[in-house]
Symmetry: C2
Subunit: 333 residues, 2 copies
């Protein structure tokens, strides 16, 4: 592999001049510029990126933490982030935490070792105390998931409101036996998102005088298969709910699918509300009533936010971004 020194020698110029041409600096005569270009072409030269990074102390790379790549919600988030990052000339390092504390902690070191210029967290696996230590090493922002103690820039949605309007929708439709599905939990640690939505769910229940029943709250429900399991569990209950509020359209699809398998009608025997408004929400039969989150936009805003923080890291006045949620009614309720 040729280096800048080889190019300089071939062009009969100094390394400094070659570097200036690479970086489009002013004060290089057209004549020399041409010489350098020719030498670079002749040698098929490309600047070594590690050397550039070491010298400039910038990597033009960001890391995005997602729990699972195969969860469409995170795929859309990632897609949105990528759009913006790419526009700003940044590369994307994808870190799949698999809902694992240790993995998350290991990936956070990327910031300490200066392997990335910043991090976007789309989920949180550790107590904030642990993560907090890393916030001094470089910009970290939150997207989707959040934490009350986290004093860092974030893009979020009013999840409590989401839980509320979904539950209220059920009630207005006449359902009174409403179950709730929490997302993936490790240990006793429930994601804030899931917890906030549950607060909204309970608020709606109590507002309409319904009581909240423990046996109607399910845990670790995050994909199609776990949705199917929830339906099977419901069938075993003496007093089963007639409506289920879920944390994603994937889960809702699983419930609807299993309901058909078990000969139940949706929404007559069991009604379902999803979350996200993923494409699958229009594919199931019946299609899914859901709380729409602008997935790609959330990602884009997060990407933009991180770019802002990176480029003007002195200014602490970067504003949090709050996007809105709304209900889309389809035939599952």
């Amino acid at each position: 592999m040729p280096t800048i020194a080889d190019v300089a020698k071939l062009a009969g110029l100094s390394r400094a001049t070659v570097s200036r041409v690479i970086n489009n600096h002013p004060y290089v005569s057209e004549e020399k510029k041409k010489l350098v270009r020719e030498a670079m072409d002749a040698l098929n030269f490309y600047p070594n990126s590690s050397a550039q990074k070491l010298r400039s102390q910038k990597t033009e790379t960001i890391a995005v933490f997602v729990p699972l790549l195969t969860n469409p919600f995170f795929a859309y988030l990632l897609e949105g982030i990528d759009t913006v990052a790419h526009d700003y000339g940044y590369q994307l390092l994808v870190c799949q935490t698999r809902y694992d504390k240790e993995k998350e902690l290991n990936f956070l070191r990327l910031l300490k070792t200066k392997q990335v210029d910043g991090i976007i967290l789309t989920s949180i696996e550790n107590n904030w105390e642990k993560i907090k230590n890393f916030t001094e090493c470089g910009p970290i922002i939150l997207c989707n998931e959040y934490d009350d103690q986290a004093k860092i820039p974030s893009v979020r949605l009013d999840q409590e409101y989401g839980g509320y309007i979904g539950t209220r929708h059920f009630i207005e439709k006449g359902y009174t036996k409403i179950a709730y599905c929490r997302g993936f939990c490790r240990d006793q640690f429930v994601s804030r998102i899931s917890a906030e939505r549950e607060v909204g769910y309970k608020r709606a229940l109590s507002e309409f005088g319904l009581k909240n029943r423990k046996e109607w709250v399910f845990e670790n429900v995050s994909d199609v298969e776990s949705g199917r399991q929830v339906l099977r569990k419901i069938l075993l209950l003496k007093d089963p709910p007639t409506a289920v509020f879920t944390g994603s359209d994937q889960v809702a699809a699983g419930i609807i699918n299993e309901a058909a398998t078990c000969g139940l009608r949706v929404p007559e025997d069991i009604a379902v509300i999803g979350f996200d408004n993923q494409p699958i929400a229009e594919i199931t039969v019946p299609p899914i009533t859901t709380i729409m989150q602008p997935m790609q936009e959330i990602g884009q805003q997060a990407g933009k936010l991180l770019m802002d923080v990176i480029e003007k890291k002195d200014q602490k006045d970067v504003e949090d971004i709050l996007l809105s949620l709304h209900l889309i009614e389809r035939a599952s309720t």
Copy 2:
């Protein structure tokens, strides 16, 4: 940020010794090792990754090119690759080409600038001639997509066979008017995968004395929405097909969904075969008969293959990997 020199000074030792401790080299006395560790902790020291990369000429990072992150097939591929890469201690740089020649070419530079140790291509946008230039700069392997001229390690499946068994299945079920959906095409450039499957499709047709009709071949069909469009186009034909062979379960789901909207029954009015065996294949009503590809395994094998090539790059005897395809019958045919 503290450097190795700071640690050395605090520990009262040389930089060399500190480096040895960082890299777990032998011949460092326990006593000094302890001193170094304490100094590192005291300073909260982490080695600068760009410096390490520059010095060692390795990045422990690989790039994976995918056309679109929101296409579940590629998400599963990526997930498989990530599993293996992570086990080997490699990071994943995700490059979304968006089916764009220029983007692909730009990303290939990552190899020239030594930003990654290797690349996995899951699709191909440029003529092989162009990509070939980069194969000398570092290991590139092919996964899923392929090219006859490409003499590089690859993980592939017999797509022609896939096209054949799907079409034959239709014929055996009594369908004679069978349409085919090509994948995404830019210019006149059809992906080899799509082309190979089409060869199998035609072979089955001619084997059973059916003729291949141009108006039953659709182009640029790669997601749910384009599947819906195909169904609408079919309805406009004077002599419409009664069965459609598609390139992915996403497309199949779109066709089935639009069929329902238009009041058509599947498979009575129109039968559909998908590809991949994605989770959605079991969610639609009816569920999708499909050609199963072991998506995650394809990714894992590709990851493994690239690791092999990187770690023993002298040996050219890395073998191509051929995985197998089979048909899963469900109610859409």
